[in-house]
Each structure stands twice: as structure tokens, then as C-alpha cells.
Subunit: 370 residues, 4 copies
């Protein structure tokens, strides 16, 4: 199927497998004249690369990005930008065993049913390494958004039963612990919890939150292309995400209109503000000028060393213990992926919004003439 | 913006406002040779039309559908199908007042910011009536799916604090209470709760669940077009939905790999089954042959008669009491909308999956030749 | 298949058959705030409606358009615009005969092969009436373009062997003869030629040219979405068009670089102009600021009363004489269809071009803030 | 803009510039299980690579392709296929001069107007090398089509005033002369003509024809996605193409219904055939089972060494003589590009046609179950 592209106007198309020659992405629809170097992208890739702590896989990849096209004299040219990250530390032989059976919690069985066979080495296209292209493209989106006054901040809200304490919330600590948690005390407890998981050959789920600062009102669409719907798709398209909620999210189910509606007030300068942000910055599919805030639930790493029951390709029932280099929790490395996917979505919809009003269009082309 | 279309291969495009001449939808990509009459569609529209009970708006609309194109001699022709529902009971004068201010919980402010003005009559395009086109198209999708052995069942899981009791779960009772709850006792408690809400000029949120039976394995896509991502977008594109989860959903965050992975077993006939369904029928973006199960959180009706604070177009702070004919809860009438959006998504992805394997394609065209 | 939509950003989706209830179009992506009434659209539809002269079908259709959505208080709202034209003078019984055989030059056989059956009444979806939706949408595109200083002018270049004389070219006469020819003398000769065709129960082909005035430079795209490629698709998607050329077109094949290249010159004010316009206003897929000029070849009306050989559904070889109300030449009524399709293409690509430069985007959103 | 992708279901996205690090393409939507090696692709690239004769640029590029993803154990996996060709013989310093002025017949001025600047080295993205991605993807499409019994054959019809003689038409000679002409005598005259052009520092245009054998009837779509419209867009998106015609093409303008209609006849076995093929294999946008035949006009190479008038970036009028390694005619190397673009279009539309009939869909999924 044709599912490796994302976006309508700012479009990305990714490729690559865990143990193939590499992974990459084409960004099509990036405006001309944006300063761009490999360093801009590398800093984002470094946040998802393996080996950052003892809680991540030991696979030795520097994940160094190379810009192949679309940049000239340090600036984007407006044509398609091709980025590549070469794989360097494939240990494909580790995976011969899993070629023969269907790992629980993985898509092995689904792939074989759909395609007739699969690239089993490290999960092939369904590997977490698939997100390299997303993050590389997301770095460019973030750079564009920054010039428009929009910044994104994603972080870990919980790992297993360990949640951050909203009273201790400290955004500056996000980059200072291996779990990207905005609460150093919680990060310490998470470390203890993960040690226990690893000893038990088990793994943990968790939750990620993302805030988008500086979002102007009026972005999004009233029907199918609602801003929240596109954010939801973006986030739910990341492997291991099983839930998405915006603003008050699932708690609205037990709320009332009076408790859930956000009142408007005008200040003395005529600026209109919402008194609360239950909506999470989007109502009716369109941004309302408040911070956008959403959360995603991440399932536990399915590859665990503990004994599991499954079936092999000969349709025999067997017991397995999965070997290889697996993160005991997906959450920390998924944080930058969530941020990237949100950035891609916001950029795409900002661009698409430029034709919302006839007067803006007339003004735009008149400006160009003069 | 260009956001009134949904789907890649089975595409729908909707139009219409609450107080305009009517609403409708074009279905493009419907295969030829499907028996189709207005009755097939009307039965779905009747599930969402107003006036079904005292818990829904009194607006008197029969919501009668007319097929304008794409059907000949009782069968679809393979060309675009146009459906229309005329509005009949508009009371636009009720809405002159709201033209002047921004209703909390609504997108009035966002629309004005985006478009410069808005059709304020009954919410215009952002009205719940916008879903008429979705349901009319969904009825066709459901008819297609039925021929492929796939059926969908959506129902109310909770209204405010009133949840169904899983032990009392009775799918046959869904159509027998005004809330589309699969638990008659819970429906009775929900009625009491809503009476109280209405007396307090307040409204209630709730939760909807949807099960898709008969889904074959191998449908979906590994990257951006994951089946769960497209279902998520479909559901989050319905007004008032603030959260979406699949399978164990948000509870995976506190789970472990051992508790969350679904084991496979082969029976004596070599049929491979999952022992549990934590995944909700989709792993790695591709269906696994189990029932697909997902939930959505619906916010409380934002239009309430209780006093609220807001701002008018002159940027003055005011108090308002919203008049008009509003449902005290959106959930019951949204049930069929959720089912419809899921059906559109599944149909689109089933069709898209037909080119997954070269051998299937060769076989398909060889069959056509002979 | 899903082929009733056109455009990426300014999208139209059409529906309807010759003898169904009517025909129509949804325009999605029209900016808010454009003044729009049914009169704006009717004037374009009147240029293609039947019965304008004795050289067109006698079918009695006023082709009156109704706006169903997307316009409020006389202005577009930014949401999808639905337009409908009801059929009124169907004589479906005329067509029972053609249900049984495959008309030469028509797609009857192709439809049956593709879909298994067809709506044979007046050609169903493949009727020339299918273009009603294109013209109705094109009228809106033309209104948008006019506000941006862009106007389109299409006319008949030839009917059968009768071509206009470039020395007599008089654009003001286009609307003054039934063939939309910019040369009254040629129009007179065309009338004589068509009389002869009609007497011989035969029909004629012809050629249409279109000029786009006021097109700014820099619109289009370097690779697959070249402006000329999209214009070509737009025009070739009109039934009966068998060829498309831009600028010097097919004559470039025998030209040399020296004769075909357009030199640039700067005038005293620093304005850069091309000395010639062999390119037809587009080079490398991007407009160069000159007039865009292209031509299309229209095949003769395939429905003719003269005796033809064909096959019926029982696969018997038969002779036929097609009855019914057919134009002896398609060209005159296709002129406004060509103009409309060009307008849709130009509007779509102008809108898409707004994100070509980072500095423009920053400027756009800064303007919105202030 | 977002214009580097082509196709709806079988999608390709290209990248790369003449003097960048390389060029490539992602193919998304290729079915799983197709045998594929670099050799399959290289044979097509070799037909367009420079240095095949003295009539092509001396740039020394082997244009060796590397498969980066989407193939495992020699077969496509169904996920995105990434192909790369590294540039090796860039002489960028040759191009410093052209950075300063606008070459006649090129898009330099248009690029600067659109993007604000341009990668001037060898034309950047607008170089003929851009077609490498098209040909690499086209090779895969051709391999798919061959398995479905469809083959494509493109060749040179004319170079400047030298046309092939239809009486001498010999398809087997296409690969035996440097111009890919199916007439060795014409090829000899073309060589003489080009020698003369080269001596005069001038260049030549020409014409390409393409025949598609084995095309089943019933492929295509009745409205905007007509098979001929998509072929037209595909071909017109190739740089230097100024005209496209199908079947009798522009000559239909002077034809009559009687001369242009193709009669049907059934043979003794009940097979329905057309007696003639004026339509070129497509009527009403849908294939009719005959050979598809179309032609394209190619403009003369705009880069010529003869003196030309133009303007520099300082808006001064100047005279130039373009240096560098340029083909005196584009046609021969464009032949395989035309064939490739046609193959991409046909593959995309064949795949899209699989959902035309409900009975086929039911049959398809029933087959999968059993």
C-alpha cells in the first residue's frame, strides 16, 4: 500500500528498514530560503538515537544524517529535500530465530498475512528505527515553526505506575534525565521501576504529553481535516501508541457543560482570552489561540526476554524468549517522535490555512507584484 | 480550506449547514453493481435524526434522503453518488442573538478569526447536522462491508457518571433505549441523570464504544496509514470527540509487556488465534483478525441554558443564557456517526489493501481475462 | 474509481448523469469572503447550455443553478459550496435502443467492460452534460482570478477545415456568433460547412484556443506538477479532446534552439520581458509572466445519423443510425468548458504557490498577528 | 510546492539536482513479492545515461543505481522502495557564469521569481538529470506490467525535419541506432542533420511516439481521471515536452464523425474488436482493448553555443554563448523517459481499477479467506 507519506501541503515520505542499508525521508513542499544544515537535524536525531542511557538498546548507531538534495548555499531551494541515515550496527543474525515465529505484541503475523512474507531482521519496516525519517523531517518543521513564533515541548508524563507530580513540574529538567521527564524526583523513581522490569525480563508502558506554545487562533478546518483529528492521526501513526486525547480528554465523558466550557473574557486592550483551557487549544477543529495540549498512551515494549507462548510458521505452538537489544520502555525515545509528528501536522495545517480568506489572498498577490 | 473530503480510494465529500437549504454528500469510488435504495440509507439517518426522545432537540426534521446520481436500475453505476437531505424546520431567528457573541465551548470565535465572519444560524457548518453526510455515506459503506462479512456495532458506554455494567452487557438492547446503551438498567439511570442535568440547565458528556466484527487479518499499513491512525482521525474528526483509544487504550501506560502482549495459539486445524485481545484487533497498524474495538470520549453539549460568561463582537464582557433546541447530551445521536466513520475508514482501507501482493494482482487480472 | 475530483487545494467534485435527477458540483477550498450569487454562475452555464442556435441539440434545458451551501449573506463562508442543476427535459425513451448496442466513438463498450453495465440514457455519466459541474465551478474560479488581475479567453480556432484568419482576429466577436469564433467571416463559412455536415448526417471536429491574461511569473512547479502538465490534464479530461499543445506546440519538433528560444530584454525601468512567446507563457513548468496560450483538438461528435457498423450486446454485427438530439459539432459548447478547466487549474496552482518562499510565509503570519 | 510526487495508488516521489550529491526516487505502493534487483533498473537507466553516442553530452556518469530499501531476499516487501544514483562527474565551475544571467528557453528567470534564488549548477532541479528518478521507478512499473501481459514501446518519430518513413517502420531497429528510431535510413539522415546543427552551434527538436501493447479494456475513469488525461499529464510533466496527442490527435479537428469513429465487429468466437483505432485505444477516458498510441513534441535543447540575447541579474541586457556539455537534441534520451512515465500511469490506473465492481471485490476477499 501507499502509506509512507504524511501531509497535504508540507509532505514527507519515509523509507527504510531496521537492518537494511539505511533510512531516510523526502520532504516535499518545504519553502525556499530556510537556512538548513545537517546540524539542525542531527540535534533532533540525537534525542531518539540508541545508547543514550542504560535504559535503551545497546545498538551502536550514531544515526548521522546526510542532506542529499534540496539545499544550496545553506538554504532550502523549495524543491524536495532528501535525507539519509545509514545503518551501521546491524546484527542481523540475531534475528534468524524470529524469522520462524510470530512475536506476541508485534505485527509479524499481520505482515505475513498481508504481504506473504516479511523482512524479519529487527522488525524490518515496523522497527522503531522507522521513526528516524519522521524525526529528521520534524526537525525541519520545528525550524519553520520557530520562525513563526511556535514552539513544541513534549515530555514523559508517566512510566508504568510512576507519574510526574504536577506540583514539581519543571520543563527545564526534561533534557536532564534519561526519561525526558519534567520532574527529577519522578525520573529517579522511574529508574528504580525500570530496573525491576529489566530484572524480571519484562517491560513498561507510559504516557507522553505535548504542549504547543504560540499557536495562533484560526488554524484548522471544520470537518474532516480538524486540527485535532490530524494531530490524532499523526500521533496514532507512531508504533506502540494506543490512545490519544486532547485538553481534558477522556475526563470530559464525566463532565458537564458548565464544568467543561471555557469562558471568554476581553481585557482592557480588547484582547480576547479564554479563562480556562479545557479544550486543549482546539474547538470545532480550529485552534483558539490557547496552548495546544495533548497526551498519548504508549504500550510496553513487546520484545521481552520472559517466556511467552506463540506459534511458528509451521503452525506449531511453542514457547519463546526473545533475545536481542531491546529498550525496556519505548516512552523516552518516543518523546521526540511525538514532538516531530506534531510539528509536521502543525506546519502542514498552517500552510494550508493561508487560503482561508479571499482578502488575504488578494493582499498576498498584490504584495508580490509591488 | 479543502477539508470536506475523507478517504483515499472510497472518498466522501460533504456539504451543508444547519440552516441552509440542506446537507449532503458525494460518494466517489463506490464500486458498480451494489444494490442501493434510499431505504438503505434512511435507516441509518433515522438513528441520528432529532426528536427520537425527549432527550433530543425538538427540531422537526424527517431528514429524508434523496439519491441524485450514481444509481441506475437499483444498482450503483460506479460513478459518483450524490445524496441530499433538505432542511425543513429551520428557525433561524432563534439565532440572531448568538450572531453577536462567542458561545463558550463552540467554535464561533475560531471561525471569526479564521474566516472573518460566520454563518451563525444554528452553528452553520459546525452544527451537529454536518454529520448527516457522514451517516448517509456510512450507510453505503456498511452495506458494502456486510457483503464482505464485516459488521459494525457502536453503542453508548457511559453518560456522565453512569456507565454500563459489563456483566449486564446485552447488545440486543442497544436499539431499545433512547441512549443506545447495551444495558437497560444503566439506560434507566442515565435517564434520571439527564433529567437532573436538564433541570439544572446543564448538559452531560459520555463515552462511545465500537466493535468491528468479521475483520480479516492483514488490512492496514505499517507507517502513516496505520488502520488505527485512520480510525483515530475518522473519530476525532467528529465534533465533540476529545479522546480516542483502541484495545486496552490508555491503560497500557501502566501495563507491562507480559500483561499487554497477546499470545498466539494454533488450533488443531492450523487456525492461528490470539488468546487475548489487548491490542483491540490491530498491531503495527495492521489488523490481526480479532475484533477491532475502540472507544471515544464525547464532551458535554456546549449549548446550555445556564448562565455563562463570554465576550461579544464589540469585545464587551457579557453574561449569556443560550436559547434554542439543544440536546442535553450528544452521545446517543453520535453513536451512529461513530459507526459510520468507522465503516468509511474500514471500507477505504480494505479497498486500498487489494494491491498489497503481486500474486493477488496477477490473479485478479487473469481472472478478468478469462 | 474515485475520479470525480479535480485540484489539490481548490478542489472540485462533480456528480450527475444526462438523464438522472440533475448534475452538480462541490467546491471545497474556496476562500471565505468572496461575493457570490447564482447570477455569477448562470452566465457561464448559459454559454454551454443547449438550444443557443440551430447548431446545437434541441433539448430544452434552462440549466438553472441553485446554490445549496457555502454562501451566507451573499459571501462565501470558506466551507464547501454545493451547486445543483436539475434535469428537466429528459427523453429517456429515445435511448432504449442504444442500451442494446455499442455506439462507435462512444465509451459504451468500455463502460460495460469496466462496470458490468451502464446508465445508457443519454450517455449517463459520459454525457456532455457532465461538464455542467465543471463550468459552474469554473465560474467561481474565474471570479477569484479576476480579483487577482487574471482573465481567461477561450474561443474556437477552427471547425472542420474552416480556420479563423489570424489577420481578422477580433476577440470582441467571440460572443457574437454561435461558434464563439473571433472572426465573423470564418464563422459564416463554418455555418455553411456545418449545414453540409448536417445534411450528410455527419458531424465535424475542430480546435479551441485559450489565452490567459495577467498571469504572474513564478506560478507552477518544477517536476510532476508543472503548470503545463496540469493544464494538459485538465483539458484532456474533457470528453472528445484528443490533443493538447502549449505555445508553439507540435511545431517545436521541427524547430531549432535559435528559432524556439525566447530572448529576454530589460526595459529602462528594469522590467524584464521576453521578446517572443514561443513557450506559451510557461517554461520548466513555471509561468514566465507572458500570456499563457494553449490549444486543444476536439473530435467530431460521435453520435451521427448516418449508417454505421457495430455490435450489440448479444455480440451480433449490426448496422445502426443513431437517433436523438445531437450537436453536429462539440466545439462551440466546449469553449466555456475549456475556459473553466483552465481557470480551475490556475486557481489551484496560484493557491498552492503561496508557500513557495519562507519569507512570504513569515510575512503572511506576521501580518495576521498585527 | 509539493510537486515531486506522481500517482495515486502506485506513488513515486523523486529528488535530486544535477550537481548535488545524487538523485533518487521512492516508490510507495509497489506490491510485495515482485522479484527485483538493481539489474532490472539499470537496463532502463542505461538507455538514458549520457555518453551513449557523440550526439549526447560528454558528462561521464555511469548512473549506477543502488536499492536502499523495500527489497528483501530479492523480492519487494510491499513497503517503500528507495533508489539512489550518486552524481560523480559534476563540473560545477562550468556554471558559475550562468548563475548571473537568465538562459533563454530555460526556467532560470521563473525559478528566481518563484523561489528568490536557484541552484544554478547544471540547472539544479530543472536539469534533465531530474528524470533519473522517473526512469528508475518506471523500470519497476514496466516489470509489474510485463507480468500482467502489458508491454510499452517508445521511439523517436522525428528529429527536426527528419521523420521516419512509416513504410520502413522496423521496431527491432529502435535499439540499433543512437536516436532510437525505428527506421535505420531515417536515423542516418538524422545524424547528418544533427551534425549540421552542431556545426551551427544550434540544436533540434523532435517527436516521440509510444505504443502500449496488451492493454485490457475497461481501465481508466470517466471524468477527471481519464486514462488519456493522466497519460497527458505524465508526458507533459517531462521537461521540454510542448504537445501531447492520442490516436489521431490533432488531425481529428478536420475529421468528420464518419471518418473518425471506430466501428465494432464481433468475430466468430464472440470477441469484439474495433475495425480501426482512430481513438488510440481510449474512448471516454477508458481503454477499449486496442493498442494505446500517443505522441509527444519535444522542443530543441535550449542550451546552445550560438549567440543569444538575454538579461543578467543586474537587469542589464547582454549577449551570451552558453558553454558546457549539452546534447544537440533531447529526443533520444527522452524516449525512455516517455516510456517510463507511461508505465507509471498505466500501473497506477490498473491498480486503481481493481475496485470498479462490487462482484470483483467480493470475489477477491472470498478468495483470500479460502
Amino acid at each position: 500500500m501507499f502509506g509512507s507519506s504524511f501531509g497535504n501541503v508540507f509532505k514527507v515520505t519515509t523509507w527504510g528498514e531496521s537492518h537494511g542499508k539505511g533510512l531516510g525521508v523526502i520532504i516535499d513542499g518545504c519553502p525556499a530560503g530556510l537556512s538548513l544544515s545537517e546540524d539542525d537535524i542531527q540535534v533532533y536525531l540525537d534525542r531518539r538515537k540508541p545508547g543514550q542511557s542504560k535504559y535503551t538498546t545497546k545498538r551502536g548507531e550514531s544515526d548521522t544524517v546526510e542532506i542529499l538534495s534540496g539545499v544550496f548555499d545553506g538554504k532550502t531551494t523549495g524543491t524536495s529535500i532528501s535525507l539519509i541515515v545509514r545503518n551501521k550496527d546491524q546484527h542481523s543474525s540475531d534475528y534468524n530465530e524470529i524469522a520462524e515465529y510470530y512475536r506476541p505484541g508485534h505485527a509479524d503475523f499481520n505482515y505475513d498475512t498481508k504481504y506473504g512474507f516479511r523482512d524479519y531482521r529487527g522488525g524490518g519496516r515496523s522497527s522503531g528505527r522507522e521513526t528516524i525519517g519522521r524525526v529528521a523531517a520534524g526537525a525541519i518543521a520545528c525550524k519553520i515553526l520557530k520562525q513563526l513564533g511556535i514552539t513544541l515541548s513534549a515530555y514523559t508524563l508517566s512510566i508504568g505506575p510512576i507519574s510526574i507530580d504536577k506540583n514539581n513540574f519543571d520543563e527545564s529538567s526534561v533534557m536532564q534525565n534519561p526519561f525526558y521527564m519534567p520532574d527529577m524526583a519522578a525520573a529517579k523513581r522511574a529508574a528504580d521501576y525500570l530496573e525491576k522490569c529489566m530484572q524480571e525480563k519484562n517491560s513498561s508502558g507510559g504516557m507522553i504529553e505535548c504542549i504547543i506554545h504560540g499557536m495562533p487562533a484560526g488554524i484548522g478546518d471544520p470537518v474532516f481535516e480538524k486540527l485535532n483529528a490530524n494531530l490524532g492521526k499523526a500521533i496514532l501513526s507512531i508504533g506502540a501508541i494506543k490512545g490519544f486525547e486532547i485538553g481534558d480528554g477522556f475526563s470530559v465523558a464525566a463532565a458537564t457543560g458548565l464544568s467543561n466550557n471555557d469562558s471568554y473574557r476581553a481585557d482592557e486592550n480588547g484582547n480576547i482570552k479564554k479563562m480556562t483551557n479545557h479544550s486543549g487549544g482546539i474547538t470545532g477543529g480550529i485552534s483558539d489561540g490557547c496552548e495546544i495540549i495533548f497526551r498519548a498512551a504508549v504500550k510496553p515494549t513487546p520484545s521481552i526476554a520472559a517466556t511467552q507462548q506463540t506459534v511458528n510458521r509451521k503452525k506449531e505452538n511453542i514457547s519463546i524468549n526473545i533475545k536481542g537489544r531491546h529498550d525496556p520502555v519505548i516512552v523516552p525515545r518516543a518523546v521526540v517522535v511525538v514532538e516531530s509528528m506534531a510539528a509536521l501536522t502543525i506546519t502542514d495545517m498552517l500552510f494550508a490555512s493561508m487560503t482561508s480568506r479571499m482578502e488575504d489572498i488578494v493582499h498576498f498577490f498584490n504584495d508580490k507584484k509591488s
